[in-house]
Amino acid sequence: MRDAAVVFEDVWKSYPSYTHVTGGIKGFLFHLPQALKGLRGRRTALEGLSFEIGRGENFGFIGHNGAGKSTILGLIAGVLSPDKGKVEVNDRVSPLLELGAGFHPELSGRVNILLNGVLLGLTREEVLEHEEKIIEFAGLGEFIDMPVRTYSSGMYAKLGFSVVANLKPEILLLDEILAVGDITFQHKCKAVFEEFRKKPDVTMVLVSHSLDNVVEVCDRAAWIEGKKVRMIGEAKEVVAAYKAVNERNSRGCGVTLEREAIPAHIGTNRVELNYSDALGVLSPRSSKEVLRINNQAVLLTTYPEAFLHKGGGEYELLDIAHNLRKLGLVADVYSPFSKSLANYGTVIHFSVNASGLPIVEAVKNTGKKLILWPNFWTSKVAANENAIATRLADLADIIVFKSHTEKTNFENVVSIYAEKALIIPTAVAPIFIDSTPENLFRKSFDLNEYLVWVGIFEPRKNQLGVINVLRDLELPIVFIGNYRDEAYYRACKAAAPDHFMFLEPMEQASDILRAAIRESRLYLEPTLEPAGKSVIEAAISGARVLVADQPWEREHLGRFAVYVNPKDAASIREGVRLALTTPVDPEQVQALAQKHLMPQVLDRLVSCISETA
């Protein structure tokens, strides 16, 4: 046996549970009995470890999170000391644990090389001797004389790595095999590790969750479990034994296990993610990327019976999914064809319907990020809906509102944390700015100038009121839509003068409907309840719009629309006169489109989804 670089002899290590002490003197005095107990109470991390690592040997530690591997590294590095037993380290230790630990952000890369080198145990002269080599290896160009706070995280890691790798390491401590920076630099890293591996005077100590790396790099390995060495020997054999035990335990939940294997204390590392059925095998370069890829898959859910009566809300859901995909996310609508939940980082749940609660609860139980999309613009709420909305809002991480009005309405019923709310302006499909054949609607129905009202007939929409007020209008009003209340529909027809037209409903967003709106002199929707999304679509496609003076309308349309009191005849007449005499301002149309058009309007939602928790 070559002489030993590291010797552990019956090493015990525990950590304090200083909870009451670190709480300050007040906490200490107020909880004196517990605090005194706390002083003595410690959790053990290692129980009687003994092993020896020879000089020049490449040694790996494997085991689950919390097994004590990082504690071992800390003991070798000399930042921790054992409670009992002996840790003997015979060479200078170069911890490659946190790249650039000890860098000062205000100082230049060059000065930081010196600082870091000296901290690693070299004299000034020794560091300066290698300075040029380090600078060349890091390949940062003129950045080397700029403060490191201006560096990207990749550059930071490169410099940190270069310092450690080029300063004659004797014992190299590695928490995962590092491959930092771009591809070229990663190759350099690999070459350096290969060189160290072969050198007889460089000892490498590796802690890794990548068993392949351990087999590849290490001669010998130790398997740490339950605070003790479970097995020590040839790397290949130890890994094989570890695999045999753990694969038996983990069959069937590979994805979650792989993800747990990313230790939180590692800044930059390489992790292999295996999404068996979803995204193929990814080899992201940093753990940050791992999380982003995960979170970029979104599942959209709603209450189960929603698609039995496919309406505006369901179309909206499909539209959102479609446009999220345009923005580069994986977005699936929950169905027999969507993937299993483990593949998605985020779930967006639409509506606050009671029957959707079990889905939301199931999602939340797996710890996924939950975005609630209440579609809650009305102010009328049933008593039981109130409780459901509260429960859903509690479960949600983020709640999307399409307007401040909606948010206010929602908050009248449910109190929510301000930071949960996210306002995403009502999203309009880009088709509404697409052109339609010239005078398509006017030609089809043999019309010249006209006003238009698109929407279902019902008393709260106020068609009858408007007809009664405007019956003397010279221009015809064209009503397009079905009725929910037949009697009301008949009453409307009866009240209307002969030149008014009543047309069957038309396909949503079809050319003919868009043409009907675009070619009209005025789009009417002065309803008694808040107007629908159709008003914004009409405005964006360039129509003049007249709506009721209500908060929802005011918030969305600003100065663009003409506002009237829907119950006041004089106000409606004056509004129509005004609307017919003032032209549409194209700049305002542009501004509205910018605010509402998909997919851009979803950008904030996407960044919300991509954000790591």
């Binding site: 200083y18 300050g24 590095a77 100082l107 145990g121």
Partner: protein, 257 residues
């Protein structure tokens, strides 16, 4: 590493860390280290106005007397107030790198000492302007006092820095204590204004002898042999306290940070 090599490294380590601290401290500030002069000067000016001009203190060369104690006090109070935070503010150095951690407070104190040394010529100019002049005794008196102050501060800061990791309230407590110490020490008033029968108060105050000796040296060009033994005694006490607490606790630093 053999012994001389180790000392070489210690020297380099201190040098590099000190250089870092000095270059970082006033980076991006327009007046830079001039601030370390302006601070005590401004304070001295305020005391001068209040006590000499408005309240008619009968002390000759009052402004110089103020500065003679104010400059060393500035070094002292800056270091002590920063003391509790030296380890806590450098978690990466404590947790990630194995190097003699006691260098962290030492570098901080040395840095403040350098600012004090830069202030000495400025102080001398105030003396000359007021018709006083520095004496030859400074040549050995100042190094002696520097060593004593440095050793006291090192002990105090090691103690504060170590204990503060376990009792976080110490930082706030320290600020109050230094404020009390300021008034309990002849800095804005002189020893001559205090009846001799109360001198024992300054002898049991572990901070006061230091500044009494500094003022005697810098203003009267004498070593105050009445108080110097107390300075030496308290220095030994502080150093002993600081080092023994640090030795006992430093193994646990990485666990609590």
């Amino acid at each position: 590493m053999n012994l001389p090599e180790k000392w070489l490294w210690y020297r380099d380590l201190l040098q590099v860390l000190l250089h870092k601290e000095l270059s970082v401290r006033y980076k991006g500030s327009f007046l830079g280290f001039v601030w370390s002069l302006l601070n005590p000067l401004a304070q001295a000016l305020i005391f001068y106005l209040v006590f000499s001009v408005y309240m008619r203190f009968q002390v000759s060369h009052y402004l110089v007397a103020l500065l003679a104690a104010m400059f060393p006090w500035q070094w002292f109070v800056n270091s002590v107030n920063e003391g509790p935070h030296t380890f806590a503010a450098n978690p990466t150095l404590v947790k990630k790198v194995a190097f003699p951690r006691q260098a962290i407070p030492l570098v901080m104190i040395l840095q403040n000492m350098i600012h004090f040394c830069i202030a000495l010529p400025v102080y001398a100019m105030f003396m000359l302007a007021d018709g006083l002049s520095p004496g030859w005794i400074w040549l050995w008196g100042i190094p002696l006092m520097l060593v004593l102050t440095l050793a006291s501060l090192y002990g105090i800061c090691l103690f504060l820095g170590s204990v503060n990791l376990f009792f976080k309230d110490l930082g706030n407590l320290t600020v109050i204590l230094t404020q009390m110490a300021f008034f309990a020490t002849p800095i804005m008033y002189t020893l001559g204004q205090v009846p001799e029968k109360y001198y024992w108060c300054f002898k049991i105050n572990p901070v006061a002898p230091l500044f009494i000796c500094w003022r005697s040296l810098l203003m009267d060009n004498v070593i105050n042999y009445d108080f110097l033994p107390y300075v030496a005694g308290y220095t030994v006490l502080f150093s002993f306290l600081g080092f023994s607490v640090f030795r006992r606790l430093h193994r646990r630093f990485a666990e609590v940070l």
